[in-house]
Every structure is written in C-alpha cells, then in structure tokens.
C-alpha cells in the first residue's frame, strides 16, 4: 500500500509537468502537497474512496491544465501587446514623437483657441474639447510612463507639473510666512532675481525628491540607475517644465499665439535633437540651447506685444519701458538654466560599484 501511494505521488508529480512552467513554479509544490494530503485522507476511509479521489484528480486535471495554458497565453499576450506598443527604440521616430508631444500639444492651444474665436458656433466649444483631449492624452501617457518604469521619452511629462507644484509651494510659503517682504534691494533686476528664486527655487527640492523616491521605491530603481548612467535626463525633466512656465510668462498679454507656437516648436526641435544624440555634454548643450532660444522668443514676443499695446492695462507696469516687462522672463531663464545644472552635481556623487557594473541601458 505504501509503495502504491509513493507511485501515485510520483505519478502526480510527473503530471504537474503538463502545467505551464511559471504556474508550476508558483503552485506546483502546493498542488503536490494538497494532492498527497487528499490521498492520505482517502486511504484512511478505504480503497474505494482512494480510487474515487485519484479518478477525480485524473479527470479534472486535463481541463485545469488547458485553462492554465489559456490563462498564461492571455496574460503573456496582454503584457507583450502593452510593452510592444510603448517600447520605443532609443532615438526612434516613435520615441521622439512621444517625448515632444507635450510641446506640440501645448503649442496647438493658441492655434485652436484662435480658430475657435473665428468660428462663430458655440462659445468655448473648441477650448473645452481641446482641454478634455489634452487632459485625457496627458493622463493616459502619465499612466503608461509609470507602468513602463519611467522611460526616457517620459521625462518631459514629469517636468510638466513641476512649475505648478513650485507655484503651490511658493504660495504656501508666502501664506505661512506672515509679513513676507523682499529684501530692500535698490536694483529692480536684483529684487526680481530674488523673487523669482523664491518662485522657481522649489524646483530644486522637487527634483531632489524625485531622485530620492526613485531610490526608495523599488519599482522605480531602474529609473534611478538610468539617471546615474545619463545625468542629462534630469535636465530633460526640467526642460519639460517650460510649456507651463511659458503660459505664466504670457499672462496679461493678448495675441501671443504666434510667439507661443514658435516657442514650442523650438522646444520640440530641442527635444528631438536631444533624443537623437548620444554625447552627454552635447545633449546638455542642446537642452540649454533649446530653452534659451524659446525663452528669447518669449522675451521678444513680450516686448513686441507690449510696444504695440497688446497688453492688459490693469497690470502694474504699464508705464514702464518695454525692457522692464521682459525681465521676468530673462530672470526665469537664468534660474532655469542654473537649476538645469543641478544634475551635474548628482553626477559628481560617488557611484556604487554594482551600478557601474550593471551597465543598465538608457533606453525607452
């Protein structure tokens, strides 16, 4: 009887090989244990009960094996489909398009808003439609990026909410800090520099927080290894902050559409060149160049619009010469470029030996 039982155990163990490999690894031991316990229990009742249990197992097993193979295939297909859809080769057209999409989408706003003004159908219809489309696209791409453990093309998307968060922090600090006042500086430019430092300075802790999260959360550790291998990725995140910041700079101006479109086209071109390059310093200079050119466009746009009185007169500096209206953009550019150098500091941090040996590819 004991040898019969041992044979049954071994036979069942062989049958378990019919299950898919991953399933066998996960549940094989459990299935075997439960089978042994069932058989042992049945033998206490008698031979008929044992035969009934064995027969029941033999009859149900083929169907169970079939279902598990089916489930495995379905899961593998889902994962493969999902991965292949968003697994863009480095420097490929798809990767570039995914990365520059936020700039192009933001650039499309003024065009569509202008178009909706000309179409005398339903007020705000196009704006509402566009806002919904943009929101849906952003949320979908954000979800995809997080599920794909933050690929390279996803960096500008991470940068998008940073200025908004920075503004929130700034407002929170001002509310908390009762009697907030700027240092008594004679130079208007210097005062603006300090003020903008408070406004955009929170970008530094935000970026550092992002790095800390990528170290702490195991799921995002590949992202941290990517950052260590390519320090320019952090600068690329900050580059993604530009679209939201641009909309802040043009607050109070009217007919700014062409300048914003040009700015975003420059940013998109910078993003394209960045992803097509491999040399870190060249990549960094491309980002700085793209940012500088787009902000220069913003400054020129502000000056032109101000001089042609396309400016909201409720703003306080309407009596000031044009250069006083663009200094905010110039100062913001200075801060942003300064912050974009921050990744260099992270690059100077000592690297763990294992991460150097791992040689994790920097890819999307």
């Amino acid at each position: 009887m004991k040898s019969d039982l041992q044979f049954l155990h071994r036979f069942y163990s062989l049958l378990l090989n019919l299950y898919p490999g991953t399933y066998r690894e996960e549940y094989g031991e459990e299935l075997q244990t439960v089978f042994i316990l069932s058989i042992d229990d049945a033998t206490k009742t008698g031979k008929f009960e044992t035969a009934k249990v064995v027969l029941g197992e033999l009859i149900s097993l083929p169907m169970a094996v079939f279902f598990e193979h089916l489930r495995e295939r379905r899961k593998a297909k889902m994962i493969k489909n999902f991965n292949s859809r968003f697994d863009f080769a480095p420097g490929s057209r798809k990767e570039v398009l995914a990365a520059v999409a936020p700039f192009l989408l933001f650039g499309a706003i003024p065009i569509l808003v202008g178009l909706s003004g000309r179409l005398n159908t339903r007020p705000y219809f196009l704006e509402e439609l566009l806002s919904m489309f943009m929101l849906a696209s952003m949320i979908s791409l954000l979800t995809v990026g997080f599920f794909r453990s933050i690929p390279r093309w996803f960096m500008p998307y991470l940068g998008l909410p940073l200025p908004i968060l920075s503004l929130y922090i700034f407002n929170g600090l001002v509310d908390e800090w009762d009697g907030y006042s700027l240092p008594d500086l004679s130079s208007r430019f210097l005062r603006g520099f300090v003020q903008d430092g408070l406004l955009w300075g929170p970008l530094i802790p935000l970026i550092l927080l992002l790095v800390v999260f990528s170290v702490i959360i195991p799921r995002f550790r590949p992202f941290y290894r990517q950052l260590r291998n390519d320090w320019t990725l952090l600068s690329f995140i900050l580059y993604g902050a530009a679209p939201v910041m641009a909309l802040v700079w043009f607050e109070g101006y009217i007919n700014y559409g062409p300048f914003v479109v040009l700015m975003f086209l420059i940013l998109a071109a910078g993003g394209w060149l960045y992803l097509r390059n491999d040399v870190p310093w060249r990549k960094f200079l491309i980002l700085i160049g793209g940012m500088t050119l787009s902000m220069l466009t913003a400054a020129v746009g502000q000056a032109v619009l101000y001089e042609s009185s396309q400016y909201n007169s409720r703003r306080p500096y309407t009596n000031l010469p044009w250069w006083n209206t663009v200094d905010q953009t110039v100062i913001a550019w200075m801060w942003l470029v300064l912050i974009m150098f921050l990744p260099l500091v992270i690059n100077l941090l000592p690297r763990p030996r294992s991460s150097l040996q791992a040689g994790e590819p920097v890819s999307g």
């Binding site: 031991e29 229990d41 489930r71």
Partner: protein, 116 residues
C-alpha cells in the same frame, strides 16, 4: 473606480463555497478543500486541480489574496501559502447571500400562493 460586487454575480456553487470557507479566516488549500466538502454536505467535492483553477481565477479577480505562511506556521506537511478573503471578496459574498435570500423568499411566497 470602485468595483461593483453585483457584477460578479451569480457565483457558481464551488466559488460560493470557497469564498464562504474563507469568510471565517485565512486557510491553506487543503483546509479549503475539506471545508467546501463539509459546507456543501459533501455535494461539492473539489479535486486539487479544480480548486487551484478556481483559486487562480479568484486571485485574478481580487476576491481573495495569497499570503505567506511565515507568521502562521501551518504545520508539517501542510502548504506554506494560505488564502484570505479580500474586502471585495467579502462584499461579493454578501451580495450573493442577499441574492439567494431574495430567490428563496420569492420561491416561498409563490409556493405558499399555490398552496404547496
């Protein structure tokens, strides 16, 4: 988005008994097998493979969860993993109970009307 328990109904008899078995606490595979047999008055006699096919499906649906047996040693020769009902699983079981109660109530009323 909250998952609606009603969307899982009606439950098959083995599924209902597996969830019911776990309603009293976490159990390993063999304990579920025996409990289902007892609860159903020996009508539902699951084989090992049928049990684990159902368990796999319930795990996919988040109605149950698989736990490590580290903190609760099952004893020698018993499976190291155990299973427990999730909050969703409990809500689905309760919804099924309400559905079955409604059916029994209607059947009782109809049978009384017919004078059976």
């Amino acid at each position: 988005m909250p998952v609606e328990p009603l969307s899982y109904l009606p439950l098959t008899e083995p599924t209902f008994y597996i969830l019911l078995s776990l309603a009293s606490g976490r159990k390993h595979g063999y304990a579920i097998l025996k409990d289902v047999k007892d609860l159903s008055g020996e009508r539902v006699n699951l084989s090992t493979s049928t049990l684990y096919t159902a368990v796999g499906r319930l795990l996919d649906q988040d109605l149950i969860e698989r736990l490590d047996g580290d903190d609760d040693d099952p004893g020698p020769g018993l499976p190291r993993k155990s299973y427990a009902l999730t909050e969703l699983g409990r809500r689905v079981l309760e919804a099924e109970m309400v559905r079955l109660q409604g059916m029994v109530k209607e059947a009782r009323l109809r049978l009384r009307e017919d004078g059976v």
